[in-house]
Symmetry: C2
Subunit: 218 residues, 2 copies
């Protein structure tokens, strides 16, 4: 019976997500859903991405948090439109929450929308938001066993960012093994090991974004 309830919630969410996807497509907005554990550096990746791309594209952000608007405040400093969603205890964003805030954006004027999900490696991966692509962020201090332990997020994502690689000397993190394990879970995933501190490989991620945002505008 619990599975039954779960299925209904997910099916209902999928329908809402399809409608979001239709709205995004109609307005030619390329939409990412960024997911990770708390503290992987999602907001810092976003800050660096916005700074690098905001002269090329019109960018907007939706910030998901359980409580607080600390991340939205950080993004607001960069002078891009940002809307905060607080789940008040909820462990993930769902498609309806996204729909409810879309009227706050001028979607026709936006090329690229990033949704930063609630920090959680488990639940957000199950809930489609209508995004073009899901991005999993894993940071070096979290440990190289996390993809095997939390495979759903990596299976459902089109891109994996391995963040904070400048910290590799200080941690027992086996990059070849984690790469192999992520590819084992999802052979088609694009994998970028990056650092927001040294900017190593950051242009690989930016170039992937440029290509996809441009393709989406047709």
């Amino acid at each position: 019976m619990e599975i039954q309830i779960g299925m209904n919630v997910l099916e209902k969410n999928d329908l809402e997500a399809q409608e979001n996807a239709r709205i995004f497509q109609e307005n030619q907005v390329f939409v990412l859903n960024m997911m990770s554990s708390p503290g992987s550096g999602k907001t810092t990746v976003l800050e660096n991405t916005i700074t690098a791309l905001k002269d090329e594209f019109s960018i907007a952000i939706i910030e998901g948090d359980v409580y607080t608007d600390r991340d939205a405040e950080r993004i607001r400093q960069l002078a891009v439109p940002v809307v905060q969603i607080n789940t008040h205890g909820g462990c993930h964003l769902d498609a309806k929450m996204i729909r409810d805030v879309l009227p706050e954006f001028d979607l026709k004027a936006i090329d690229f929308l990033v949704i930063e999900n609630v920090g959680n490696l488990v639940c957000p991966a199950e809930f489609r938001l209508g995004e073009n692509e899901r991005v999993a962020v894993l940071s070096v201090p979290e440990g190289d066993d996390k993809p095997i332990k939390y495979p759903v997020l990596f299976r459902e994502s089109g891109v994996a960012l391995i963040n904070k690689i400048d910290l590799l000397p200080f941690f027992d993190f086996n990059m070849p093994r984690v790469t192999q394990e992520i590819k084992g879970i999802n052979p088609d995933i694009e994998l970028f090991p990056i650092s927001c501190t040294t900017k190593e490989n950051f242009t690989l991620w930016l170039d992937w974004l440029r290509k996809n945002i441009r393709n989406n505008r047709g």
Copy 2:
């Protein structure tokens, strides 16, 4: 209606948890429920705790993971009884899952049982397991904004371990502020900043455990 479903699940779980608590009390087992984000070092804290205390107390472990038994394999090396619970996608342990594995232990012979919950800062905090005390683990690399962003876990816990303090020189982590913010959420919480690498302050945590395990045996 969604709130209604949520309440029923939590109320049902609370009843199961009360029954677990009765069983633990009857057998004089002191039970901890350890919760944190993935990668905070819960399993390493446990390994060090078991090694330090296993000649003084009879210890057993329940490992909660979404998939895999990697953590249970690590604990098994220390020759204490360990049972793995896989939630198969579920984002937290609940009281019924704990009850179902209790027959695998000789509870009369156990002084101290630690339940390592699924790595997740949001959901596990809502589900009582019948434990004597909840322990929140936060590690330095996760960032000092996490207690404010995920307050429920810290409000519901009797102990907070701030782990990996040997990494403080490499991170922008404001220890006085995070201490103040955790105490603001929960003035009664016991707070131990520890390192499993340097063992700094680890005896404070061990002494707290010794006192509580002994008190529980009466």
